[in-house]
Symmetry: C2
Subunit: 319 residues, 2 copies
């Protein structure tokens, strides 16, 4: 256990992300003190029971007071109001960051409230599960995953080169100590990348699960029984928190609509190939996709075990 990086870390929002962060901070001994806040008394009481925060406050302002790191871990639609609430209480030189899944809208909503002398450095750890709430958190969530920081006003050729370079470095060191790799991007590019790697996959998963629920020709019980053919993987993704995802789609509209347009265009071409029995076109399209899977496994971003290891036999290696 190394010397704490921050004296007092305030985590606002104590669901999957906030709780996991608290666990990781404690595991690494990265803070003198971990202070938490969540909206509902129910969640705050549950966190007091679980004990992964040193202190749970009944207001965001109290939690943020005196902190040298504040991390926004609520759904992104709540960030503006949270920032406004805590602003008058922030200590000079404090770093404010977040874990929100979109970045341009967060910059738009949060920046105006940040007082002089406080450093706002937006962030997004690319790590999660389909579960939510404080009980879902665990220290290993960020291990080996990427965390993207999008410092504001960064130089074009070096996104980590900003006025508050020292603070950006410190925050990067903090995330590395939480188990992450750290990368830098501008907010707009972040939103495009995540639109295709995360937001569109979730939209499609929610959509097909909805489509399946509405069929008259196939019963719900058929769908459930025979879901092992592929459908069950989509239900996992579509089990994610609806509030979080509503906020993401409301706040990354342009990028999501752009990716969705491409997706629909490509799907129409596949539909046409099926309708006209064009086996060559289908084969060609289906042959291009194995390489990318291999690269993801080689990059350590997924397990090589078939079926995500659901069938893992003793002796099989997990990634």
């Amino acid at each position: 256990m190394s010397k704490p990086i921050f004296e007092r870390v305030a985590i606002l929002g104590l669901g999957l992300l906030g709780a996991s962060l608290a666990h990781a901070v404690r595991r690494g001994g990265l803070a003198g003190e971990i202070v938490g806040y969540a909206r509902s008394l129910e969640t705050r009481d549950r966190v007091r029971e679980l004990g992964f925060c040193d202190q749970v406050c009944d207001s965001a302002a109290d939690a943020a007071k005196g902190a040298d790191l504040v991390v926004l871990c609520a759904p992104v639609g709540a960030f503006g109001a949270l920032a406004e609430t805590i602003a008058p209480h922030l200590r000079t030189d404090c770093i404010v960051t977040d874990v929100g899944s979109v970045k341009s809208a967060v910059v738009r909503d949060v920046s105006p409230h940040i007082p002089d002398g406080v450093h706002f450095i937006p962030g997004h750890p690319i790590a999660g599960t389909e579960q939510s709430g404080p009980d879902a958190g665990f220290a290993e969530l960020f291990d080996g995953r990427w965390c993207i920081l999008t410092p504001i006003g960064a130089a074009e050729d070096d996104v980590s080169h900003t006025a508050d370079r020292a603070e950006v470095e410190k925050l990067a060191r903090f995330w590395r100590a939480c188990g992450s790799n750290v990368d830098f991007m501008d907010p707009h590019h972040h939103d495009l990348v995540l639109a295709i790697t995360s937001h569109l996959p979730h939209l499609i998963a929610y959509n097909i699960v909805g489509t399946a629920a509405d069929l008259e020709t196939v019963t719900q019980s058929d769908v459930i029984k025979y879901s092992a053919g592929g459908f069950r993987d989509f239900t996992r993704i579509a089990a994610s928190d609806p509030t979080m995802w509503r906020d993401i789609f409301l706040n990354n509209r342009e990028a999501v609509l752009e990716m969705l347009g491409r997706f629909t265009e490509d799907l129409s071409a596949l539909q046409r190939a099926i309708r006209w029995g064009d086996g060559d076109a289908l084969f060609e399209r289906f042959s291009r996709t194995r390489t990318i899977r291999r690269s993801i496994i080689d990059a350590g971003q997924d397990s090589p075990v078939p079926d995500f290891g659901r069938h893992a036999k003793p002796g099989d290696k997990k990634a």
Copy 2:
């Protein structure tokens, strides 16, 4: 180990399904003799090395000769020609079945070649992984999964009630001994159910991986690095064998196009909600999907562990 159910089981096609079936038959001692055939010398030689068949023949006819159970395990587009080749060599009273992912087209292609006295009972085990070839096979593939039989000419109110009821029972017993649960359906209904639970999910997964590969605004390396946000799950499904999937879409056209039409309609509604910032509509759509996930887990068709157990901690239970 119980008494063998069949004297000689011939498996035609020795990839993931054929190899897994051979392993399961051997594990259960379900056949006096397991005989295999695959199209290429390379695969046949590999299976000889792997040793999961008692005998590997260089022609489908030789493998089928004298068998009391023949299982077609090639891609469905090859079934008609295979059936035609083996027909003259089939022993009277032999059961011919298959593992193909579509059923109406298989009935159409195979039935005309089946000689009098031979019992053709189409089947489909709902079990698989994204891998293919003889090395991918393993005995546990069918454990706890469903196998659907679609006996021909069955009574409307009792799909297992056919002229060859004894043979249907025997085949069902065989699949149960391989670890499966057995269900009966008519071929048309099977194709509708699988169109939504398996074929459409694969089509969508292939499509989004293709869309991602073609973007100019986001690099391939961005997509790979940040795939943990959801995309990587789709790449697993899209890593499946292109020949197998081409054949499925060519042979389940109507049902797939119907499901695809529904999916696209629903996706347009979501697109509209995003464009107009209709948060209530998004929230409502995203709230309906958790129940179905829970039912799939309760039905034993998926693991309850978050993220398919990729993050499993020691002490976590696997389903």
